[in-house]
């Protein structure tokens, strides 16, 4: 799909929100789905995957962190420039009919649950962890939902990682018909698994692997699961939403 950049704004150092206006209709998006973005640069050949951060009508947003050449070049793009995007792709979060949700996001992982919160925020509690008070800006859009915020350096909210802050509060949510949604780095998933294994909650997470095609064609993005007949799942096709319990961490 062709799109035109409306805005490409630095929120905090190295973290941007990009808004594009899409030509033509965007199909309905499930939170957790992503787009493959073509970045025009001599050194960037393959598209790069980004979760849908937000969507209103034909306006689509992603929030991204500059990590390498591709995101660096993307961060220099300006209003009015064209961007080829492909999506929505993958299987997003399956939102059932639970009474309540816990949403856990670490760092740039907030990009993966923003749209989800907009859909289920009233029935959800967001736990967001970042390294310092600077990172709080990434969640300012969701302040109405009164997120529990933790910072590694203690400069805002809880001191410590996001899973620790959840551990302290979790007793208050027991007994509810509850599901957990999470997006963050692998270490976060590891400690989340350790914590949640005591409670046996259902838990969906967004998994990341480097992608070649984003459409299930290349088997570049597979992750090992405990499905015995087909252990290797494509993050872009069978995911990126997986049950925390099926991934080999």
């Amino acid at each position: 799909m062709e799109s035109i950049i409306e805005k490409n704004e630095e929120i905090i150092e190295n973290h941007y929100i990009l808004n594009v206006r899409v030509k033509g209709r965007i199909p309905k998006i499930t939170p957790g789905q992503f787009f493959m973005v073509r970045i025009e640069d001599r050194e960037v050949f393959l598209r790069r995957p980004f979760t849908v951060y937000d969507q209103r009508g034909d306006l689509l947003s992603i929030m991204y962190k500059v990590r390498g050449r591709g995101t660096m070049v993307l961060s220099r793009m300006k209003k009015g420039q064209k961007l080829s995007i492909l999506g929505p792709l993958g299987r997003g979060f399956h939102i059932g009919k639970r009474d309540f949700y816990l949403v856990i996001a670490g760092g740039i992982g907030i990009a993966g649950v923003h749209l989800l919160m907009k859909r289920i925020g009233k029935k959800a509690k967001l736990f967001y962890g970042t390294s310092s008070s600077l990172g709080v800006s990434l969640v300012k859009d969701l302040m109405d939902y009164e997120p529990v915020i933790s910072t590694m350096d203690g400069s805002y909210g809880y001191r410590g990682d996001v899973v620790s802050s959840l551990r302290e509060k979790i007793d208050g949510f027991l007994g509810k018909d509850l599901e957990v949604f999470a997006c963050g780095p692998k270490e976060m998933y590891r400690s989340l698994k350790e914590l949640l294994s005591k409670y046996g909650f259902a838990c969906q997470i967004l998994w990341e692997e480097r992608m070649g095609c984003g459409m299930g064609l290349c088997f570049g993005c597979v992750v090992k699961t405990n499905d015995e007949s087909d252990p290797e799942k494509r993050v872009c096709f069978e995911g990126p939403a997986f049950s925390l319990w099926e991934i080999s961490l």
Binding site: R42, E43, L86, M215, P231, F237
Partner: protein, 289 residues
Amino acid sequence: MGNISVELFGKKLRNPVMNASGTLGYGKEIERLWKISLLGAFVTKGLSVRPHHGNPQPRIWDLGYGMLNSIGLQNIGIKRFMEEYSQFFRRRRTPIIVNIFGFTEEEYFECARVIGHTSVVLAIEVNLSCPNVKQGGISFGKDPEVVRRIIRGIKSETDIPVIAKLSQEVKDIVEVAQAAYEGGVDGLTLINTIPGVVNDGGKFIRGGISGPFLKSFALKAVYECAKRLPIPIIGAGGIMNANDALDFFLAGAKAVQIGTATFVDPNTIPKVIKELKRRYKEGRWKRDL
């Protein structure tokens, strides 16, 4: 639009454009964008006798003008593929080319046996770039003698036409092609990825390079083999658009395969087919197919 059908191994294909093995999943995935029946033929992922798990992450590196992959030939095994998917291609009236590999010569023969005889299969494409575990991991396709023996062995197991898929990392690709021909091969696919190494944060990882990088090497292989051998050649390597495809036809290829380009633009294959038809109709592409 122009009729660009082509005859290959005695069968008529809608057009001379195929996907390259391992770059269009199991065939169903792309159907959210276009019908698989658009293809001249569908080439399967590399399949082996036993299912294969492939390599650990990461498996993909962007090289700027191409990519390096170390998928490691992950697949569900020939038997399961034939059971679960051949019906799909039959319904789509799309002939398939079954790409096979093995880690021993015997495994190649077994692959051919497992396929049996089924009308949906147009040909067997033999990936000879696989490491020979009995020979210290050097790939089968490097030794003309081994190539001749593998092709001969496969031919004795099956009536289905056999295509040898060769890699450019050999002493002389014509010599290897000649050996395959002597072994009774019916066609060639040129070329497979070329082995390269990337530095992944201090660790050197070996993989196969594909994409625009390959075009000039692939064109050389096609051009030199087409001059010498009287069997059809399928060109592959770095084809990004119809112009690239036409270079391969001009160099002597009878059909082409498109791989990595699909990752960059999943509509590359339909676009190339459309453009080839247009050029053919306008008389800007003369063929002798």
